[in-house]
């Protein structure tokens, strides 16, 4: 018997807890995470779908699971992976490891570097100003989700990709399929995805007829056509569709979440108003503080036996890393449950970690900075126009957020 097998037999595997631990309640982080970080940093969980998994809750352990090359995503396609959605994903960057993953990632990464994104800031500011002007013209109360949070990131991603903004009502509906857990029936999810892929496929055909178009979609089509090994046709369509949908459901949701948290921390909001130079640090802190996901997903599979958080994870076992829990780890963030817009050291994991670190992170950062700065400076009296209890929160989605946010100013 080998040494590792002996260790394996002597490890104790606790019974799995149902996960997520509770029904998401606004933007509250379930206290179970804090208890687990303290007492049982690697725990067994059972998600609504798929096999049991380990869940890492401490910052360092989550970094290991997401960043260590001994863990990978590719094995998930051979397994009934733990997930919050009935549908399992069998293709796309999140089902790949280097070097396959690198081939796709590198093609899009260049469009999303800090430098490229900075060049989009003036246009993003222009869009944000126009949206706020329009909302002010309509007068209070107005829905911040409808008038600012939704159109801003969608218009930016449309212009970056080269997708007609005029078609937004169609693909906005289809995009929900990417983040739906139970909000849509399975057949509808598949129908919406097919619609989305078909729609992107038509745009791809258009780029082939007019190869000179200088947008990300055009660049991806050229990459595909110049060297077929770099990108298959399916990958091209899913990549572009994925970027369009991701550009919809994340920043769109975070803008109202950030405003909601700021309204709950009036002293911090006042500080931000008097000193807008705090906006970049404030956005980082809000990325740390707001638990966007309703639970952890996209488990990493151990490629060999790995010790994490005092537990021997056996080769082939899936491990989830909770970003929301890592972001509240008191060994890394002093007073972790307090919002502190002036936090100096903030190595949060709001965008994940490792090779799957959000490819749109720099774009999201810039959009969130523009949105927060514009709202706090132009609408100094910004407040909820309804009692908090009347706010409607998303249900049956991978992300937490407001369905609507009636505000006055």
């Amino acid at each position: 018997m080998t040494e590792s097998a002996q260790t394996t037999e002597s490890r104790s595997v606790p019974p799995a807890r149902p996960y997520p631990f509770s029904v998401p309640d606004r933007l509250v982080v379930d206290p179970t995470y804090g208890e687990l970080r303290e007492n049982e940093p690697m725990t067994r969980v059972k998600l609504p779908y798929g096999e049991e998994a380990w869940l890492a809750t401490r910052y360092e352990d989550v970094r290991t699971v997401l960043g260590d090359v001994r863990f990978g995503r590719a094995p998930a396609v051979q397994r009934d992976e733990p997930r919050l959605t009935p549908r399992q994903q069998y293709s796309g960057m999140l089902t790949m490891d280097p070097p396959d993953h690198t081939r796709l990632r590198r093609l899009v990464a260049k469009a999303f570097t800090a430098r490229r994104v900075e060049a989009l800031r003036p246009r993003t500011q222009e869009i944000a100003d126009g949206l706020v002007d329009n909302m002010v013209r309509l007068g209070p109360p107005a829905d911040l989700v409808e008038h600012v949070a939704t159109p801003l990131p969608i218009q930016v991603i449309c212009e970056l990709l080269g997708v007609p903004y005029a078609d937004r009502d169609r693909f906005h509906i289809w995009s929900e399929a990417i983040v739906s857990t139970t909000s849509l029936p399975m057949e509808t999810i598949q129908e919406y995805l097919n619609n989305l892929w078909g729609y992107i496929g038509a745009l791809v055909a258009e780029r082939r007829r007019e190869p000179g178009i200088d947008d990300l979609l055009g660049a991806l089509v050229r990459a595909r056509d110049e060297n077929q090994d770099r990108l298959s046709e399916t990958e091209l369509v899913e990549l572009a569709g994925g970027l369009l949908a991701a550009g919809h459901e994340t920043t769109v949701t975070q803008i109202p979440n950030f405003v909601y948290v700021l309204l709950h921390n009036p002293d911090q909001l006042a500080r931000l108003r008097t000193d807008p130079s705090l906006v970049p640090a404030a956005v980082e802190e809000l990325l740390r503080y707001v638990p966007l996901g309703v639970g952890s997903s996209f488990a990493r599979y151990a490629k060999e036996d790995v010790e994490v958080g005092g537990v021997l994870v056996r080769a082939g076992e899936p491990v989830l890393g909770s970003l929301s829990s890592a972001n509240r780890d008191g060994t890394v963030f002093a007073d972790p449950d307090r919002l502190d817009l002036e936090r100096e050291q903030n190595p949060h994991m709001g965008f994940g970690h490792g090779v799957h670190h959000c490819v749109g992170a720099q774009l999201a950062r810039m959009e969130l900075q523009v949105a927060v700065a514009t709202l706090v400076t132009r609408l100094p009296g910004l407040r909820l126009a309804v009692p908090e209890a009347e706010l409607q929160w998303k249900r049956g989605m991978l992300v937490r957020g407001l369905l609507g946010m009636p505000v006055a100013w």
């Binding site: 960043g67 800090a114 970690h353 090779v355 670190h357 992170a361």
Partner: protein, 75 residues
């Protein structure tokens, strides 16, 4: 064709995503949460360009060790 490349990591830009260490573990690792090349001067390898071009903050540069020509990140 250059025979050696020099890898640089600008730690004031690096945000520690670990994309480079995952893409090219034989060339990059994280030290104190930030990227560090395992060796500064290395034999040319495509995977190093992959890492440099995938860095979201362009913290990684690759130069020709003999004539200092910038090889990555690509424009």
């Amino acid at each position: 064709m250059s025979t050696a490349w020099r890898i640089g990591v600008d730690t004031s830009r690096c945000i520690g995503t670990s994309i480079c260490a995952g893409t090219a573990p034989e060339h990059f690792r994280l030290v104190g949460g930030l990227s560090a090349p395992l060796a500064d001067v290395v034999a040319p390898a495509d995977v190093i360009l992959d890492a440099a071009d995938s860095c979201p903050v362009e913290a990684i540069t690759v130069h020709d060790a003999s004539d200092d020509r910038l090889i990555a990140p690509q424009e």
